[in-house]
């Protein structure tokens, strides 16, 4: 009976109900998007950092990994010290640089990583094998496309130019032995990886045992914070960054989006709340006579309140799934815009769907629906019956 009356009331004003549902759906979509934006970026980044099992990253003091061209000198002794530590399971030293591939009069330039293939955590092998010999490299699809080469082909590459000799410095031939997907590279960024020793030799310079970064995987059960503090004490030349510290840095740099999400989320919720409150109030005002009659024939006050709250909640609940679908579509569209940030890793999502986010949005909306219905319902159910009936009869 309660639900039948509520349904009848909503159906009586079809256009109004439809507009209300549409309005709440758009608010719900916006709310879901903002909930996804506020937490998605951080979760996505956390997933990316932990995807290969490394909990700590060591970079030159005062910098974040690959934030500058700075490198860690005397790195071999540092890596040896880390590997000798009982709490460490795996250490992956990484040297960043560029490789130039001559192509006619010009050259194709790609980001290059010098790695130890057995312990690396920077790429996933798609086809072929890791580059283990000095004349082998692995490349991603963007580089293979730019070079017009395939697995098994031989390419010439250099790590720099010698302006005086007008020649590529340290050029050598490489066999492409693997096709890979780099985890931290931006979409469309051409990249290649060669053994660490090879890239060091190609770059030359006075100090050859440099690295840009070392990634450390701890043994199970070892406290990340304790290990981080211990390494920071023992290795004053480097910054030891845990996943949570890196996330804090990212959060700080992208705080604008988090704050925007909070503000727009609050606005969406307020708009949805106001819309439902306005509709329910007007709807109740139109039916004060009907409500007075119900009260006169003995219908209890809480039942009238419940009917009106059910109406408000029904608008919210019908609109919510529509809003969630709309939110996912708009979220994907907005994500495709932000994915074009220069240098942003391809796998980072600003709008990451998490069931928790959807439930949060739904819960907030349902709460708003109930709250929006309570006040006008209670007010109308509290009107004096006789006076209201007389006013309605006189008009």
């Amino acid at each position: 009976m309660l639900f039948a009356l509520a349904a009848a009331s909503l159906i009586r004003h079809r256009a109004r109900t439809l507009l209300a549902i549409l309005g709440v759906a758009v608010s719900a979509a916006m709310l879901l998007d903002m909930v996804m934006l506020s937490s998605g970026m951080k979760e996505s980044f956390r997933g990316l950092l932990l995807s290969q099992g490394f909990q700590l990253r060591l970079s030159p003091k005062g910098t974040l990994p690959f934030d500058t061209d700075a490198t860690i000198a005397r790195a071999d002794s540092l890596v040896a010290l880390l590997r000798a530590s009982p709490e460490v399971a795996r250490v992956s030293p990484v040297l960043g640089g560029q490789l130039h591939f001559p192509a006619g009069a010009s050259a194709v330039t790609a980001a290059a990583l010098g790695l130890e293939p057995a312990v690396q955590g920077d790429y996933e092998l798609v086809q072929g094998r890791h580059a283990s010999a000095g004349n082998e490299l692995v490349a991603n699809d963007a580089l293979l496309r730019a070079l017009g080469r395939r697995l098994g082909d031989t390419v010439r590459a250099a790590a720099g130019y010698d302006a005086q000799l007008r020649a590529l410095a340290g050029a050598r031939d490489f066999v492409i032995v693997g096709r890979v997907r780099f985890i931290y590279f931006a979409a469309g960024q051409a990249g290649a990886s060669v053994p660490l020793a090879t890239l060091r030799a190609m770059q030359g310079g006075a100090e050859t045992d440099r690295i840009s970064l070392a990634m450390v995987q701890l043994r199970p059960g070892v406290s990340v914070d304790a290990a981080r503090a211990a390494f920071e004490r023992r290795l004053p030349r480097v910054a030891v960054i845990s996943t949570s510290a890196a996330l804090e840095q990212v959060d700080q740099r992208l705080s604008y989006f988090r704050q925007l999400a909070v503000i727009l989320g609050a606005v969406s919720l307020t708009v949805g709340f106001l819309l439902v409150t306005t509709l329910v109030t007007v709807s109740v005002n139109e039916r004060v006579g009907e409500i007075a009659v119900m009260r006169a024939i003995g219908v209890r006050r809480w039942r009238i309140v419940a009917q009106i709250v059910v109406e408000a909640a029904a608008i919210m609940l019908v609109a919510a799934p529509l809003g969630l679908v709309l939110g996912l579509v708009t979220g994907r569209y907005l994500n495709s815009i932000l994915a074009r940030f220069p240098g942003l890793p391809e796998r980072i999502d600003f709008f990451l769907f998490q069931p928790r986010a959807a439930w949060t949005a739904l819960g907030l909306l349902a709460l708003c629906g109930v709250l929006a219905g309570i006040y006008p319902a209670w007010r109308s159910a509290s009107l004096p019956i006789a006076i209201t009936l007389r006013q309605e009869a006189v008009g």
Partner: protein, 281 residues
């Protein structure tokens, strides 16, 4: 006190700050450096203070005197970066970081704009291993981040306008529905449907204009607060939100159009209903 700095060359330096000791003779004249105002504020440094610069922690380094404190430029590309900045003489930085006789880039000023193209051609013909770029092209490239943010804002704006349109339509529909009896009485008195629709549309337009004026006021206040907040957060003189005449005209125009359309749709629906039905008979 030791502070790590990422210098322009990309090398790392440590910075040991302290008060100047003018009464103690120095073995040679110390070089001068300029530091940014954030570093000066955070490290408590003033012009004339003596500091020690080193490429890595623990290295002996080289002493220098703070000769200037510079205000951070309004560069959007640096907005989210929190590093301190120190400007050194080129040779001093090369020596300090072991960079040798190398630089990251040259800035070249031509005598006239017309000379830029030929100068670039000559440089690129002669150069090997580096390329000349127009400053304008570099500016476009480095502002990509903000082009993306701008596109994002536009998309959010479109969604907001859509949501506002539905909200406005709902409100106007309800407002007009409240006048069922008035409209029925007017129709029974012989007032034409056109006149009734016109009066409701006028009312809708007036509400839209008043709402827009209030909205512009709220927008200006929010814009002021946004600038105040983010300038403090990022410690920059940049303007994050700018309320321009075009924005006001667009917002008021859009609101007026939406209000009129919503009022017209609601009024048309009402005048098409027979007066007695509107009376509930």
């Amino acid at each position: 006190m030791i502070i790590q700095l990422a210098l322009l060359a990309g090398a790392l330096s440590t910075f040991q700050g302290g008060a100047a000791a003018p009464d103690r003779p120095t073995p040679r004249q110390a070089r001068t450096i300029a530091i940014d105002s954030r570093l000066a504020a955070d490290a408590g440094l003033r012009v004339g203070d003596r500091v020690v610069l080193a490429a890595s922690p623990g290295e002996p380094g080289d002493s220098a005197v703070v000769s200037a404190i510079v205000r951070r430029g309004a560069d959007p590309a640096e907005i989210a970066r929190s590093e301190y900045r120190v400007r050194l003489h080129l040779t001093q930085l090369q020596q300090l970081t072991g960079y040798g006789d190398r630089v990251d880039r040259f800035a070249v000023a031509t005598r006239a704009d017309s000379a830029i193209g030929p100068a670039m051609e000559r440089i690129n013909d002669a150069a090997f291993g580096f390329r000349a770029h127009r400053s304008r092209d570099i500016a476009v490239e480095t502002s990509q981040t903000f082009a993306v943010v701008s596109r994002f804002h536009k998309a959010i704006g479109v969604i907001t306008v859509f949501a506002s349109a539905i909200f406005l339509l709902c409100i106007m529909l309800l407002k007009v529905e409240e006048r069922r009896r008035d409209v029925a009485a007017l129709r029974l008195m012989g007032i034409s449907a056109r006149t009734i629709v016109g009066s409701i549309v006028l009312e809708a337009a007036a509400i839209a204009v008043l709402g827009s004026i209030a909205g512009v006021g709220i927008g200006a206040a929010v814009s002021w607060f946004v600038n105040l907040h983010y300038r403090a957060v990022y410690r920059t003189p940049l303007s994050f939100s700018v309320l321009t005449g075009d924005t006001v005209v667009l917002a008021v125009g859009l609101s007026l159009v939406l209000g009129i359309v919503a009022g017209w749709l609601a009024a048309r629906r009402l005048v098409r209903t027979p007066p007695l039905v509107l009376f509930g008979r």
